[in-house]
Amino acid sequence: MKKTRSATPVSRRDFLKGAGCLTIGFPLLGGEWPAAYFPGAMPAAPPEDTLPGSLQKQPRINAWLEILADGRVRVLTGKMELGQGIRTAIAQVAAEELDLDLDRVEVHLAETERTPHEGYTAGSGSIENSAMSVRYAAAAARQKLLALAAQKLGQPADQLTVADGGVSTRNGKRLTFAEILDGKQIEDEVRLPVALKPKGSYRWVGKAVPRQDIERMVRGEPMYVQDLRFPGMVHARVVRPAGYRARLLAFDRGPLEKEFPGLLKTVVNGDFLGVIAAEEYLAVEAHRFLKQRVRWSAPAALPEGQPLADYLKNLPGETQTVQEKGTGAREPSGGTSLRATYFKPYVMHASIGPSCAVARYEDGKLHLWSHSQGIYPMRESLVKMLGLAATQIHVVGVPGSGCYGHNGADDAAADAALLAMAYPGKHVRLQWSREDEHGWEPYGSAMRVEIEASLDGAGRIHHWHGEVWTDSHSTRPGPEAANLLAARYLEKPFRMESPGYLGGGHRNADPYYVLPHLRIIAHFFEGPLRVSSLRSLGAYANVFAVESFMDELAEKAGKDPVEFRLAHSEDERAIAVIRKVRELIRSQPVAANEGIGFAFSRYKNAATYCAVAAKVAVNTQTGDVRVRRMWAAIDAGEVINLDGIINQTEGGMIQAASWTLMEEVRFDQQHVSSLDWATYPIFRFSDVPEVEVAVINRPEQKPLGAGEAAQGPTAAAIANAVYRACGKRIRQLPIRPEKITG
């Protein structure tokens, strides 16, 4: 099977000529909209020729926003708040187009039959899809409100002013939005052209608008699915099997019921085993009791102790050529060639708060509160697993602990649903334990990357041949039932049919550089551990490999690594972030045991640009590696919330530095053995570098998500810095002390 695609994405040519402005600057844009439309405003932006993706599917204005009687506006998004601050960004664009104060906008997160179906909150797509849909819907609502007000007030629309949730005439007559609509909502569809507010007169967008939810957090207000409380709510725990394929051998209710007479219900459905109690602690104790006593069949053995990088390469699987350019000729005249193999182990999402859900089943209707990233797709899987119609399942999205991809959220919801249906009429709260989350979440796949490249006589890359070995990067629910963990263990189990290999595995395997001859091949295996989407998917491993290899090639060519990258770059926006990060570290002192490394990537080769520098200190005696400081320059197009981008990038670097230095999911023959924070350590305060982020705002460009741009460059920048500090090239993550001393 062979798949090819265009070697040069159109967006690559879509760059801005000239340097961007580094802070918040607004170029004057020419436009076709009469300035009078927005009195006193600068010329408006030209209409875009297409509507944002989510809006095309759900074009009605009131699918996205509702005018409330008190003058506030409720925005409906199909996305979830994951800690990325999407609520604030969405409120900003709505407040902007409707000229409202920010606190007059309320954001309603994903809920079935209430908000638009926007798939998953994933792939850094929430700004591009949801926020932009809200922008257009709000702008269209404004047009409609002005037109209606013009009729009611007997004045032409261009004589009217929109402010504070109302429309006013010059002589002081005013109608609120609700009065204009007579209490109705705007059911018109958004149609092009839509007059967007000129960017030059923005009041909210592009600014570092503080998130309002942080104050609610420090006050201990109920925020999370874990904080939900309902009258009569009961507490549940699920006893997970001894391994992925273990079966429940024998279960005797007798001793359990004798020990815990207060237990409300024990649910046994095939190999699915759960307990329900009025008191949470009783459920915890019953779970502990069962865990020690329930007997499971020995699961199929996991490949404990095998060198994973080789083991995974030798698994059977499908191979695809995903990118091919030039003749693929390997031998340049008068040049040299180089090859290297890189490896990234299984890494976990490792949410600080284990997954949780509340479910209630009554009168044939299931209500479910979940921190799933995709409530609508999850519902499709629940329909199959539970045998209910979609109309019988109502899912409310409630934020949980940060997830960074597909963690246990959907599985906990499925557990809660099964238990609630076995114990109808009550709200059943299902809380995963730390061990459940560590041991059963779907990890980011282990990956192997091999690269071979040659340099021509002038030290430029002539050909590049990359091969990637990877498992799936999406086994999310929707529509298959088996993507929900519990479904595989029911009396009538659902089987995983295909892991679904999409592009996530070879994401960013093709370098974003000018290369005359290029071939990228992806090999898909089905590995020993459960896997799915982890922040940036395959880009983390691929950029680690590509950008480590760029440094190796630069050295071979006798070039400065940053200059080497610039010499292979043609996109001005790429060049700008690389130069910016170099500027940030210009006056950094570097001690004898220290080194600074660089890396760059454009996420998905079509989205956000990010260059990262890392300064590390290496103790060659102990192998201890400390990341002292990290810098990033990022261009995510038009900035919606400046601090949101900075926060995501700071956090992205710190999280990815933790992956890079410490993290590796371990397992024995039976199951995963990384079951808590001692057996799967992550960064603590003593490990965390200082971080600095420079944002290049491009108000004239499409706004892009910024949460997944820094991970890959972070890994390579650290590995490159380690090499510069001590001469050791680490190609197998994580960069543990024994790899430095060994």
Partner: protein, 157 residues
């Protein structure tokens, strides 16, 4: 098995009817309906469930409720005054926007309050040490350090 236990939480006497072995965390969250302390690991490894026990930051996830009968328990909620005014530490967290998902925020704020009670002028290392037991997965530690540093400066006489 359940017994009547009287606790002093956020300056108030609260009586609950629970199994005396119940970890304090569950009593705070379920009986007293407080959201501040969070369940993170149940193993005293992550700091999500920290509370102030006689002014010291301690994990509440394994501590039997009967063991704290005679002590003063302060949770995140207890740091907000009746008039809604925030304590300098949480206020600095808001000003520094030191959160992403915010799930670890309780542990961060409680650990910082305990630290500043012992050391009014902590340097960077002392802040890191004081907060070492609290895990954050979003990577907001750099902001948390700035927030604690700001709170320390504001608390200076």
């Amino acid at each position: 098995m359940a017994a009547k236990i009287t606790l002093r939480v956020n300056g108030k006497k609260r009586t609950v009817q629970v199994d005396p072995a119940t970890p304090l965390l569950y009593v705070l969250r379920n009986q007293l309906e407080l959201n501040g302390p969070k369940y993170g690991c149940g193993l005293e490894q992550c700091g999500s469930c920290l509370v102030l026990l006689d002014g010291k930051a301690v994990p509440s996830c394994r501590m039997p409720v009967e063991a704290v009968k005679d002590q003063s328990v302060v949770t995140l909620e207890g740091l907000t005054r009746k008039n809604g005014e925030l304590h300098p530490v949480p206020r600095a967290f808001v000003q520094q926007q030191a959160a992403q998902c915010g799930y670890c925020l309780n542990g961060m704020v409680i650990a910082a309050v305990a630290l500043l009670a012992e050391n009014r002028h902590p340097d960077d290392d002392a802040i890191r040490n004081g907060l070492q037991r609290v895990l954050c997965r979003c990577g907001t530690q750099a902001r948390v350090i700035r927030a604690v540093s700001q709170a320390a400066q504001e608390a200076q006489p």
